[in-house]
Structures are given as structure tokens and as C-alpha cells.
């Protein structure tokens, strides 16, 4: 786990960054941020510039205001997702010794249109609202099974007992991966989470572990298609050419990372809020028809992803000079707490009718947003319907990790049996 006492070293400020735009914030290790992430974000929204440059973690831009995030997400030339271009990857692979395994690339996340469109298209139907709606009953069954295991114990560590296994099982079912290997997948998720900071060598090893665990099934589905996403992907074409094993590995990596390390944290933040607010639990128990709007307000209040971008050209943005190649973080959690967009942003109000950007926007809008929404809604519905009022365990405060995902490490709940 990250040692919060050690901040990353400070790098010198580039000449084009004015002093007024510098704000010292370590997005991985800031102690107050790691202790209670969204409290610290509210503090940043009040005290830090709407767009600032931090000297931590190699030096990078942070976009806080809703307007800055909204505009940056839709200008893919200015704020590119292509940290390493496809041509660069191909050149890199050409210099590797023969027999080096393919390096999986998280397409379509880290590629711009038109490539992005090509790689995203085969996945669209599998994650459409209609397809996802058909999974709702099976998601509810899974949620109930997990609740059954803890209901009589008067409490649980929510992340390990429910938030982590639920999306893992949904993911295995959708992709057609063997449920009996669930433990191996969960272990891989845990390894992935225990090392939230990007170290290139480690990241590569993690990617290879993901493709290795899925390989048998991927090969089996090529030869014997079934009704699952892996089989569906084998039937698609990219650029008019049949899909390759390399393409399949790219998809495996994207779906694994995006599908497992995200929604579980949304569940953690949401259930923590419910546990802290017994009167709100009561309200929703009496009015379960409000759970879908409550889910949206929980997503706004506790937006938890921080997508990175790379500045695509020398430019002026929000009155600041930015240079090609600089890194910029879309700090969506701050955007959804911007008082210019959401009056009284700290307050929790299910009657708000302005949309949040927890799933980001523009062409990179979260592909799994419809699945995440159904998983969150069903989880809240079943927790509220089946458990008595639950609270945070006063002896064990929740713990978090921060970075590109603001994650919940542990969340101890108690209830009367």
C-alpha cells in the first residue's frame, strides 16, 4: 500500500506556467485526500485554481472546474488519450527479441478517433442499455447470494464481501469466463489494486497476467462460439479484417481493468454514504422508486475517476499556456462538486436535474456506464430491502486509495441481527 507519509518529489515548474497557476497537490498520496477523499476535493474546489499545475508526480495539470472538464473531454485534439501512438507501439514491438509476447494495449480507451471508433464499435451492442437490462435479474440474484452470506453476521467488510465479488461475477458471466476460476480472478483484481501507481514494468506484467488467465477461454470460444462477449468479438471485423488474437488480448485487458476496478468503488462510496445517513436509508426503504435518482446523486456527490490526458498541441486553455506532451488530469470528482454547476455541491439532493459527468463525456464516455448504473441500482435496492438499517462500524473507519480511481480499500458495516 502507498505510504501516505511520503509525497512524491517536487519537479521544477516549467517557465510557461505562471506562479498563480501552481498548486501543490499529490493526487496519489496527499494525506488528507487519502484519509477522506471527497472532503479534500471540496476543500480543493474552494481553495485551488480552477485549472492548476502541480509539481508532484512528475508535474502535471489538474482540471477542476466543470467547464474545463466539459470542454477538455470534447476536444480530443487538445486533450488526447493517445499516450503512446499505435505507430510507436508497432515500432517498439519491431525492436523486441523474437518471441516476445504481444503487449496488450487498452484500446479503445487509449486511442483517438478514427481508430477509437473502430475498436469501440464491436463492443457497443454488448454494453447497450437494452443488452444490460436483460442482465438485471441475474445481477439481482448474485447480489442476493452475496447478501445471504453476511446477513446473519450483523456486519461485514463490505468491499471484500460484496463490492468486489459482485462485479467480478457479472464480468465472468458476460464474457463467458469460467465461474469456478473466480478466486483466481479476484486475486488478480487484488494484485491490480494493491499497486495503484503506474510503474511501467509492473503494469506490463499485470497486463500479461490478465491475458494469460483469459487465454484458454478466448481460444476455446474462437473454435466453439457461445452466447458471450468473447464469442461475439471473434465474429467481428476491424478495418474489414478478421479480428486477431492480439486484438482479443487488447479487449481482455480493457474489459478487465475498466469493468472491475471501477464500479466496486462506486458501490463503496455509495454504501458509505447510506451507512452514514440512516434517515436517508429510511427514506429510500419507504420510497424504493427513488433509488435510480439517488444512484445518480451518489455518482455526482462521489464521482471517483480521474482520466488522464496528454496535451496534443501547444495551446492556450482557460487563459493558460499548455505545451504539447504535458499531462493533464480530468479531475471529474471536482467538476461534479463545482458550485458554478451544482448549487450547494456538498449537499445531497435527489431532486437535482442537472446531469453529472461521473462517466465523463465526449467520445470516450464510459462504455460500461449502463452496466454500472444497473449494478449500483440493484445493489442499493437489495441492500435496503434485505438488511436492517446499517451503519459504519465505529471501531473501524473506512480506508481509501487515490490516483486515477478514488478507491475504497475497506468499509466495515454493522447492523442488528
Amino acid at each position: 500500500m502507498t505510504d501516505v507519509a511520503t509525497l512524491s518529489p517536487v519537479v521544477p515548474k516549467p517557465a510557461h506556467v505562471p506562479d498563480a497557476a501552481v498548486y501543490d497537490f499529490d493526487m496519489f498520496r496527499d494525506p488528507q485526500y487519502v484519509a477522506d477523499p471527497h472532503r479534500r476535493i471540496l476543500d480543493l474546489v474552494r481553495s485551488a485554481p480552477a485549472v492548476f499545475w502541480t509539481p508532484r508526480n512528475g508535474g502535471h495539470w489538474m482540471l477542476l472546474s466543470h467547464a474545463a472538464n466539459f470542454n477538455a473531454s470534447r476536444d480530443i485534439e487538445a486533450f488526447s488519450s493517445e499516450f503512446v501512438s499505435k505507430t510507436q507501439v508497432e515500432a517498439m514491438m519491431a525492436h523486441m527479441p523474437p518471441g516476445t509476447p504481444h503487449i496488450p494495449m487498452p484500446y479503445p480507451i487509449n486511442v483517438n478517433p478514427p481508430e477509437h471508433t473502430k475498436y469501440r464499435a464491436p463492443l457497443q451492442r454488448a454494453f447497450s442499455p437494452k443488452t444490460i437490462l436483460a442482465l438485471k435479474d441475474s445481477i439481482r440474484t448474485l447480489a442476493n447470494e452475496l447478501i445471504d452470506r453476511v446477513i446473519d453476521s450483523g456486519g461485514c467488510e463490505f468491499m471484500a464481501a460484496i463490492a468486489e465479488p459482485l462485479p467480478v461475477q457479472v464480468f465472468l458471466k458476460m464474457l463467458g469466463l469460467p465461474l469456478e476460476r473466480q478466486e483466481e480472478y479476484r486475486e488478480l483484481v487484488r494484485q491490480h489494486l494493491s499497486d495503484p501507481e503506474p510503474d511501467p514494468k509492473n503494469s506490463m506484467m499485470k497486463l500479461w497476467r490478465i491475458t494469460a488467465i483469459m487465454r484458454d477461454t478466448v481460444v476455446a470460444r474462437r473454435d466453439n462460439p457461445q452466447d458471450d462477449i468473447i464469442s461475439l468479438l471473434w465474429k467481428t471485423e476491424i478495418d474489414g479484417k478478421p479480428i486477431t488474437m492480439d486484438d482479443m488480448e487488447n479487449y481482455c485487458v480493457v474489459l478487465f481493468i475498466a469493468g472491475l476496478d471501477t464500479v466496486m468503488n462506486g458501490m463503496g462510496h455509495g454504501v458509505r454514504h447510506l451507512a452514514q445517513n440512516p434517515e436517508f436509508q429510511d427514506d429510500l426503504r419507504k420510497n424504493p422508486q427513488n433509488i435510480p435518482v439517488a444512484t445518480e446523486e451518489l455518482l455526482r456527490r462521489y464521482t471517483f475517476t480521474v482520466p488522464p490526458r496528454i496535451v496534443g498541441k501547444d495551446m492556450e486553455f482557460e487563459g493558460l499556456q499548455m505545451k504539447k506532451g504535458e499531462r493533464a488530469m480530468l479531475f471529474l470528482p471536482a467538476a461534479d462538486l463545482d458550485p458554478k454547476e451544482f448549487a450547494n455541491p456538498e449537499g445531497f439532493d435527489i431532486k437535482r436535474d442537472k446531469p453529472h459527468i461521473a462517466f465523463n463525456g465526449g467520445v470516450h464516455r464510459c462504455l460500461g456506464s449502463h452496466l454500472a448504473r444497473v449494478e449500483l441500482q440493484v445493489l442499493y435496492e437489495q441492500m435496503l430491502a434485505r438488511l436492517p438499517p446499517f451503519r459504519l462500524d465505529p471501531q473501524r473507519a473506512p480506508t481509501f486509495h487515490c490516483g486515477h480511481v478514488i478507491g475504497v480499500d475497506s468499509l466495515y458495516l454493522t447492523w442488528k441481527v
Binding site: 457497443q124 451492442r125 454494453f127 447497450s128 442499455p129 437494452k130 435510480p292 436535474d353 442537472k354 446531469p355 453529472h356 459527468i357 462517466f359 463525456g361 465526449g362 467520445v363 464516455r365 456506464s369 449502463h370
Partner: protein, 63 residues
């Protein structure tokens, strides 16, 4: 009342359809299927709510 949608800018949030599938029909993969909808009498409020729900801000209401 008319709903006008900048269809090419749709990225498939489907929030409009979450308000009303009838006023905001989606295509096979969950993107908006139409550019223009005549709002039936009595559905004006729902049309406005659907327009406000769009995170891309690409839905306009014309009286």
C-alpha cells in the same frame, strides 16, 4: 413543441431515454435514433426534463 437533437454529437449516454423512451427512441446500440420529435400535448414537461438530462447538451426544445 418540438425536440431538436444534434444526433451526430450523441455519445450514447441514454439519459434522455431514461426519462422517456417514447419521446427519445434509441437505436440498436443505445444512441439516439432521431433528430426531431413532435411533442404530443401533455408531454411538454417530460420533453424538457429529457432535454436537461443530456450530459452532452445536444437536445434543444423549440416552441
Amino acid at each position: 413543441m418540438k425536440i431538436l437533437i444534434n444526433k451526430t454529437a450523441c455519445v450514447g449516454n441514454a439519459r434522455c431515454a431514461a426519462v422517456s423512451e417514447e419521446l427519445f427512441p434509441l437505436d440498436e446500440v443505445g444512441y439516439i435514433a432521431v433528430e426531431e420529435v413532435d411533442v404530443p400535448a401533455g408531454k411538454e414537461d417530460i420533453a424538457r426534463r429529457g432535454a436537461r438530462a443530456c450530459p452532452e447538451r445536444i437536445i434543444r426544445i423549440e416552441k
